[in-house]
Symmetry: C2
Subunit: 272 residues, 2 copies
């Protein structure tokens, strides 16, 4: 039995098991994705940059809050994130990290203590796992979840506002829905501006520069039925794409799907 | 110069001019439509029925709150509507009435004092004028307003829940919008459940039984551009269609567009 098999599978157990889940991640016994783990807790995308690039990146996030909603920014050199949890240490508490040098992926590792420096700044950016929980609790069905797939993601032609070296198109995630469910999904996700908020587009994909829904740029393709609309949300992959453009000398991120699990509850992010 | 030409044309003057506007209506000097008059005040659809049919109709409204959001129900035989305004008298305060007998229109008149009976019950039902003001204040453009047209309305195949003799399909109003504006419109109108609330459909009209947008069942056709979606809201014409089906011995309504103007402000209807 792997650690993943032993993971809490439902909401009630996941709440109780957060300490043991975090311990497993910290000790390197959980190095896999976190989809469905502790699913009522806020999970976050992680970006770690040297202070110089961090200043530009924070401006990039501020100018592009839909794809880059910042949940927390650390003090330079401080690996702790006290606003997200009592004892979160960014050097150990992400299941799997990716290390980028000059925009190129050079390494995956489960612990970055050896790489930590006094000038590093951590960004935690909201993740669609939070609003997907809210959508499912509202009774909406998510086909990629039901089919055990990653969500389909596309580079759109929607612009971002550049800041320093950070720029690039908005990446969007797509979920197919009937019109009435799409309207309900706008209502539900509008309550969660810190995890991408309301959709940025729905209907004809060509209007935002997407010409083949069957060929996503990231993630897995999912069928759109004749009585459904594709509904598009701003996606947390957008900052990663901007980082690849900016080519900072060092950048550390989470590995795709292996997110930072915080102490916060998704329900705490609801704006009303 | 007609009374309509003399009507207050903008929000600030319309607030101040409500007493003179109501006096003009009450004295039969204003018998025309009320679109754009006192535009920050709640206007309402009016349905007056004998108590026997009123009981069924109230159940019909309760079961179909999106097309039939009830703002007020009078006491039987009482022409006053104290929850909507200090001195509103339903016998005189609608610019133009329609009198229906056994489901057939028999008369239009500007005063129904002579027809009043001790068993009549008045219903005031929310009207899209309220949410259209909110949409325009949010910066959205409404083509039918800009072109001075009535909104396009269609009999859909969306069902209503029957109550006694009241039944029939949901009538919907349609406004064309770009996708991002449609998403914003869902957000804005969701705040106003008492005036039809969020849309009931968007995108392909055929999915709700509408096969030719250029041929509305009520109101005026309006163009839908290639980069737009038709967005559909439940419409206050639905109860009138149900009344025509039910054929009550007597029914009095407002004439189309000539609404009851209440003392309430549209902003008071916002749910958050």
């Amino acid at each position: 039995m792997t650690i993943l098999d032993a993971a809490p599978k439902n909401e009630s157990s996941s709440v109780d098991d957060l300490p043991s889940l975090r311990r497993a991640i910290r000790q390197g016994r959980w190095t896999s994705h976190t989809s469905g783990a502790a699913q009522d807790r806020v999970q976050g995308n992680v970006v770690i940059l040297p202070e110089r690039e961090a200043n530009d990146f924070l401006r990039f996030c501020q100018r592009n809050p839909k794809p880059c909603p910042v949940l927390a920014v650390s003090e330079p050199g401080d690996p702790m994130l006290p606003t997200l949890g009592q004892d979160i240490n960014i050097c150990t508490d992400v299941p799997m990290y990716r290390v980028w040098r000059d925009g190129e992926l050079v390494e995956e590792r489960a612990d970055i203590t050896a790489l930590w420096r006094e000038d590093l700044v951590t960004f935690v950016i909201g993740c669609s796992f939070s609003f997907e929980q809210a959508l499912m609790e509202a009774g909406l069905r998510l086909r990629h979840v039901e089919q055990g797939k990653n969500v389909a993601m596309y580079r759109s032609n929607l612009p971002t506002q550049a800041a320093g070296p950070f720029h690039g198109p908005m990446v969007v995630s797509m979920r197919p829905m009937k019109a009435a469910d799409a309207i309900r999904a706008v209502q539900v996700t509008s309550r969660f501006p810190q995890v991408h908020g309301a959709p940025v587009h729905l209907g004809d994909p060509a209007l935002i520069g997407i010409h083949d829904l069957a060929a996503p740029d990231y993630g897995d393709a999912v069928e759109v039925l004749p009585d459904e609309l594709p509904v598009f949300w701003a996606c947390g992959v957008t900052p990663q794409a901007a980082i690849r453009q900016a080519r900072p000398p060092l950048c550390i991120t989470h590995a795709p799907g292996a997110m930072l699990i915080t102490d916060l509850f998704n329900s705490q992010l609801a704006s009303f």
